[in-house]
Amino acid sequence: MLNDVTFGQYYPVKSFVHNMDPRAKIVFMIAYIVAIFLADNFFALATAVVFLLFVVLLSRVPFGRVLRSVKMILFLIIFTAVLNLFFYSGSSSYQPLVDWWIITITYESIINMIFLALRLFLLVMGTSVLTLTTTPVALTDGIESLLTPLKWIRFPVHELALIMSIALRFIPTLMDETNRIVAAQKARGANFETGGLIKRAKAVVPILVPLLVSAFRRAEDLGDAMDARCYSGAKGRTKYKKLVFTWRDLLGLLLLAALITGIVFLNQLGGKFEILSYFL
């Protein structure tokens, strides 16, 4: 019943963002991440936040659903931010607020922490919007298409894409199989919940061995089935799914260009620390 893995995080609604070309979305996301790290003061970063909120709104994915993916790595964000707060080593033009043992907290380190946390936060939100609005299958197609130029240096783009696609296809099958094997061994008295580390590692053998054997058997079958369907590598192959770049994608990328221009322009207002001088 873990079949939903196939869809990853995909949130099935129809929206402007869902309908965009996966290639455009991948480029979009990479550019957005660059923009976040480019933003050097609060005005620029605030613009990036507003922009993201706008995209989430446009994608019709509930805001809570997007936040949920951030929640999973919230600990990591806080951890990095706190470390940064305590051990920021940049020079400070103001008196340290705290200076105790090896911990020094300055105005600069606070600002630095906020920036870091916000950037990480936006980074995760941005990638989530991508995976929430694009199926893994479409993502694979997009990556394959974007990597096509690498064929010139003999990089096996088609093979890589096929491997990803087959892996995606077999995840739910192998999940089901794992559940079945676990149940069968439990019925024979296997215990996976208690015991020390070594005991638990040993308990996995009765699951892993049959799973591996079955994976090899499936691979062999699949190889035959692919041969029988005339598979002979990338040569002479056509492609049914054609990604089409539409006005949506153009509009999206124009918006993005506007964002980056805006951020670069706002950066002219000053660096992130200069703002301190207004207050102190």
């Binding site: 019943m1 079949n3 939903d4 199989e177 079945r180 094997i181 149940a183 069968a184 061994q185 439990k186 019925a187 024979r188 008295g189 296997a190 215990n191 053998v205 009765p206 699951i207 892993l208 061995v209 049959p210 054997v213 079955s214």
Partner: protein, 288 residues
């Protein structure tokens, strides 16, 4: 051990968009000593029900008692229960894992019977392997992966019965086998039923198999038990089975057509009985 379920319900992925109710109130009673058949489409809830019987799926709604074990009781000793209720899954040969047949069959014993000595365990393994009609000496040190398909399945069954469970549950034990292989597995189940396990519960899609072998059977449909009776009584209701999209045995198909032609054959739908009754009808007619 008697199996008694009342109003058993179960929902997969509750409170999620993928929620699906597999059991919608199952009532069933299987007595000790029965050779009990379970009939139903894929997705009718029969597998979900069976996995409740040894607590592979924990009870969430309704009442279920297996022998003395009350599965609604949180303090119920599930490990002990599992040693008394053996479960053979579909294609059980895909769960073999150990380096040798002997070790694989011994797996259950090592888990359930920590009190047994090595010699006792080996003796039990030998007995189990011989019960499934394999040559212990020839096979015990072989890797289970070297065996033929039919042998693997027998080894897997030996690995379940080795702990002498009182109830043996099998989910389509003959799936994927040819007719003779199917018959061999049914013969094996009868042999186990005589000595090793008091009660046998098995799923089958083959109605001839149900008609020929079971003391009683239950028909699952859409998360409920819609019939529970002897095969003779169940296959009398052929029209209902057909309307549920299920098959009926050849004997029942034949009896149905004969009935339409005004010829009543009173039979329990086993081939032997059907042949005898038709021959008797013929003799009566010819004599008259």
């Amino acid at each position: 051990m008697r199996i008694l379920a009342k109003g058993l319900t179960y929902t997969y992925n509750p409170k999620s968009p993928f929620a699906s109710q597999a059991l919608k109130g199952v009532d069933i009673s299987i007595d000790e000593g029965e050779f009990f058949g379970i009939i139903g489409h894929t997705g009718s809830g029969k597998s979900t029900f069976l996995q409740h019987l040894n607590a592979l799926i924990r009870l969430t709604g309704g009442f279920l008692k297996v022998g003395e074990y009350d599965l609604s009781d949180k303090k119920c000793n599930f490990l002990e229960l599992r040693s008394k209720v053996g479960m053979v899954f579909q294609y059980p040969e895909y769960q073999l894992f150990a380096e040798t047949v002997e070790k694989d069959v011994m797996f259950g014993l090592k888990n359930f019977r920590k009190d047994m000595s090595d010699e006792e365990m080996k003796a039990a393994v030998k007995e189990a392997i011989e019960t499934v009609d394999l040559d212990y000496e020839e096979i015990k040190d072989k890797s289970p992966f070297e065996l033929s398909g039919g042998q693997k399945r027998r080894v897997a069954i030996a690995g379940v019965i080795v702990t002498k469970p009182e109830v043996l549950i099998l989910d389509e034990p003959a799936a994927g086998l040819d007719p003779l292989g199917k018959k061999e597995i049914m013969d094996l189940l009868h042999a186990i039923h005589g000595g090793w396990c008091k009660t046998i519960v098995f799923v089958s899609h083959d109605m001839d198999e149900i008609a020929e072998n079971c003391t009683r059977a239950a028909v699952f449909s859409d998360g409920r038990v819609v019939m529970e009776d002897t095969p003779a009584e169940i296959f009398k209701r052929s029209d209902e089975l057909i309307s549920l999209g299920l098959d009926i045995p050849v004997t029942a198909k034949c009896a149905r057509i004969l009935k339409e032609r005004g010829i009543e054959i009173e039979t329990d739908f086993t081939s032997e009985d059907f042949i005898a009754k038709v021959l008797a009808a013929y003799a009566a007619k010819a004599g008259a």
